[in-house]
């Protein structure tokens, strides 16, 4: 039998060499496969970021009118703003002033815009064209004029250049986000409005100006062009504050207990398994918990950042506990023994010696946990945070939305051509916030680590 020990050295090597080429080819193939996987992943991510940036960045600039508004005293025909009389109580004065403001609110501000537009177009506007004309400027801008006037009544009779947002459809038209060759029936704007918009754009009356509305306004249904993120941002801010105030102390405390003090028994084993599992429970389940307990049982208000914050706190807790425990575990035992040896009690050892050393890890883990909570959407939908809210919430008990939920609401808006870009812009804002939180975590880790 010719097996390998009998085979001569040369034969043996020959056998091995014969297969070498194909084995090396296989090696190369495998390696390329790995590289291909990495590259595929990277490319997909690149496409993701590129497509969102490409769509979203233009939305930070919005079609805006610079209109010469004449505050025509025939139209703005209101009485003098009341002045507080001597001896008049504050409440009485406020009531009088409020009455005056209502009067101002009843002024036909739209007429001023119409007139200014007609002026800018240099045309006489037929009554049947009013609709087309009013499709140019977004409807909420009437209130901008009103507010300007309440602020400064000396405008009366004057002409001022005022920045007014174009309507969403004009923005889409100017930016070319709709196929300009579509037949009239499929266009959002009438032929007349489109022609006017083009004309005004050429004249420089409409320009693409940086959109402060995106940051300063709240969501809007009637005046889509002025929909902004301010309300959602405040909602998210309140929730993050609640998450930080609750989940970090509770999470760190329970991690300290489990890692440093808890006796090793069935119960703590159970808690440990339980925490690991909670970390992997789908976020939507936490939403159901919030709906059942906080809304259904405790009757907390729907759509409130308070409830959202509580739900996200419960969701973030396991992350923070796990990160803190890892940080505590990485502190060498010699430090504990040294402190105990000096006569410190166990509590003193942990709080004076171990905890400060574990701080970088704890901070990093906490920030990452909070960042994760910031991007969470699904549980918030179940506690009513997808409601339309047009006010900036002043307290965590007020109705509010949240940044990721606002993204969800905007992506579903029927005016796709406008909201695709606006949603992308909102995503950019959200990602920027999350990335800065991540960067903060990395920076903190680096900075604090070098200290010891």
């Amino acid at each position: 039998m010719n097996t390998i020990t009998q085979a001569s050295r040369g034969e043996r090597l020959a056998i091995i060499e014969r297969s070498l080429a194909s084995r090396h080819r296989q090696e190369k193939r495998f390696r390329r496969l790995g590289l291909a996987a990495v590259v595929t992943g990277m490319v997909l991510v690149l496409i993701l970021f590129a497509s969102i940036l490409m769509r979203g960045l233009p939305a930070f600039w919005q079609a805006t009118f610079y209109l010469d508004i004449h505050f025509d005293s025939d139209i703005v025909n209101v009485s003098e703003r009341p002045i507080q009389q001597e001896g008049e109580s504050n409440a009485d004065f406020r009531e009088r002033d409020f009455t005056w403001q209502s009067e101002v609110g009843r002024v036909n501000w739209q007429q001023l815009i119409d007139n200014a537009l007609a002026e800018a177009l240099g045309e006489e506007i037929e009554p049947q064209q009013t609709r087309d004309l009013r499709a140019l400027v977004t409807s909420a801008e009437r209130r901008t004029l009103r507010d300007r006037f309440i602020e400064d009544q000396s405008l009366l009779g004057e002409t001022h250049t005022i920045k007014l947002l174009a309507s969403a459809n004009v923005d889409v038209w100017i930016k070319g986000n709709i196929n300009r060759d579509l037949p009239d029936s499929q266009q959002q704007l009438s032929a007349q409005t489109r022609e006017w918009a083009d004309h005004l754009y050429e004249e420089g009356v409409i320009t693409n100006a940086f959109s402060t509305a995106l940051f300063l306004n709240t969501d809007s249904r009637s005046s889509l062009a002025s929909a902004g993120l301010a309300g959602a941002f405040m909602g998210s801010l309140f929730m993050m504050l609640i998450v930080m105030l609750l989940s970090i102390p509770i999470g760190v405390a329970s991690a300290i207990y489990l890692e440093e003090f808890a006796p090793k028994n069935r119960l703590t084993d159970l808690i440990e398994i339980n925490i690991n599992n909670l970390a992997a429970v789908p976020s939507i389940v936490f939403g159901l918990l919030g709906a059942a307990i906080f809304i259904g049982y405790l009757r907390l208000p729907l759509s409130a950042p308070l409830v959202g914050g509580l739900v996200l706190t419960l969701m973030t807790l396991p992350t923070i506990i796990i990160a803190t425990r890892a940080a505590l575990r990485s502190i060498p035992n010699s430090i504990r023994q040294a402190a105990l040896g000096m006569g410190a009690s166990k509590v003193q050892t942990v709080f004076h010696h171990v905890l400060p050393l574990a701080l970088p890890g704890i901070l990093t883990g906490s920030i990452l946990g909070v960042a994760q909570a910031l991007g969470e959407t699904a549980p918030l939908l179940l506690i009513g945070m997808n409601a339309f809210v047009s006010n900036i919430p002043a307290t965590p008990f007020d109705q509010a939305s949240a940044l990721p939920v606002q993204i969800y609401l905007w992506q579903g808006n029927e005016l796709r051509n406008f909201f695709e870009a606006r949603t992308s812009a909102a995503i950019i804002v959200l990602l920027a916030l999350m990335l800065s939180l991540n960067a903060l975590a990395i920076w903190l880790r680096k900075k604090l680590e070098t200290r010891w």
Partner: protein, 456 residues
Amino acid sequence: MNNLALIVTVLIVMAVAYQLGLTRSKSVVGGGQRLHSRPGYYGILVALWCGVPTLLLLALWGIFGNDIIQFLVSQQLPPETAAFSEREMLLQMRRIAALASGQNVSDPQQYELSAAAQQARLESLGHLVLLASMSVLAVLGLVLSRRKITPDMRARNHVERVIMVALALSSGVAILTTVGIVLSMIGEAMNFFRFISPADFFFGTTWNPRFSTSGDAGQGEFGLLPLLWGTLMVSSIALLVAIPLGLMTAIYMSEYAPPSLRNVAKPVIEVLAGIPTIVYGFFALIVIGPFLSGLGDLVGISIRTTSALTAGLVMGIMIIPFVSSLSDDIITQVPKALRDGALGLGATKSETIRQVVLPAALPGIVGAFLLAASRAIGETMIVVLAAGNNPVLHANPFEAVSTITVTIVNQLTGDMDFASPQSLVAFALGLTLFVITLGLNVIALVIVRRYRQQYE
């Protein structure tokens, strides 16, 4: 005084109590006696005695006070309100509360006005009682604990015991969360099963819940199977994408990549894992969906823009970092000695990986896959946006589907009505989801833990 001001006041009183305890502890020492603990601990102890019961009382009032007042007010409403439904009653109480706080209510009835007056009276009375009892408690706590200070009082041990209790209570929150999830799910699911039999739910093949108008509850059909099927279809597609890509990425990163690439790619992957899923969902909707649909047109297959394929593909992309970082951890745990053994026999690197490292890491990797599967099954926003919400049993991945998570969102957003099966079904679905993911997680964690022990 509102609650915030109350809390701040209590904190200030606690600070004063701390000082009082501190000075007292210093003054009781004399005649060569030494304090058992450092003076600060006596201060903390007094502050705790003074503040904690007070704050507890405030918290209790915050939770139950309103209910007590509401109950008392509702007691003296005229008998005809007894016939009100729960919802009408809630509305009624809101009107009264609004009246009581001085707001205008359209067309207030006489009985409402008197109830409101009583509510206002009770509220101010309650507030007074609260203030008084808080003050009494604070003073009592302060005086009694301060008096108890003696040099050999073991203040540090007392304080430490309080700290321990606080720490232990904190770790109880995690348990409470789980208990809360389980109880609320089971409770509400039971309510649902009063309308629909469990057999119809778990084995039903039609999902058609109708609208959430109470009364015609029996009309809808609540079959879980189409949703479960959709969930499995989307998750399978996601895993088919994520497992090969994630695993190969992990292998390349841990075995082949030069350190420079690894140093860049690892943080990038970490960041990717943190991108909110709503972003992936939007990406699916505006890029991948249309792309796949166009691709389908090219080869003559009809692929819907929102389909199981779109959602699964994007979910797969989302899970890649998750799979790769878990697999990376597990692969690097395979001892170097095993690799050396194979390399020393003349195996090439890929042979070593495929024939020795991966088999050795298999249990851990399987665990990682199970965790990824649980992630995919519980993922919500991507499917909400990209799966198309079509709860029908079919096997075509190019068609729209619906999943458990999508349906939970659909059934529970909008008007929440805890009395209709249309809302309650969300909890039965949530329970199903929870049980599935919990099962996967437990198995995965056990496998991974065993695997770790094997190489420790």
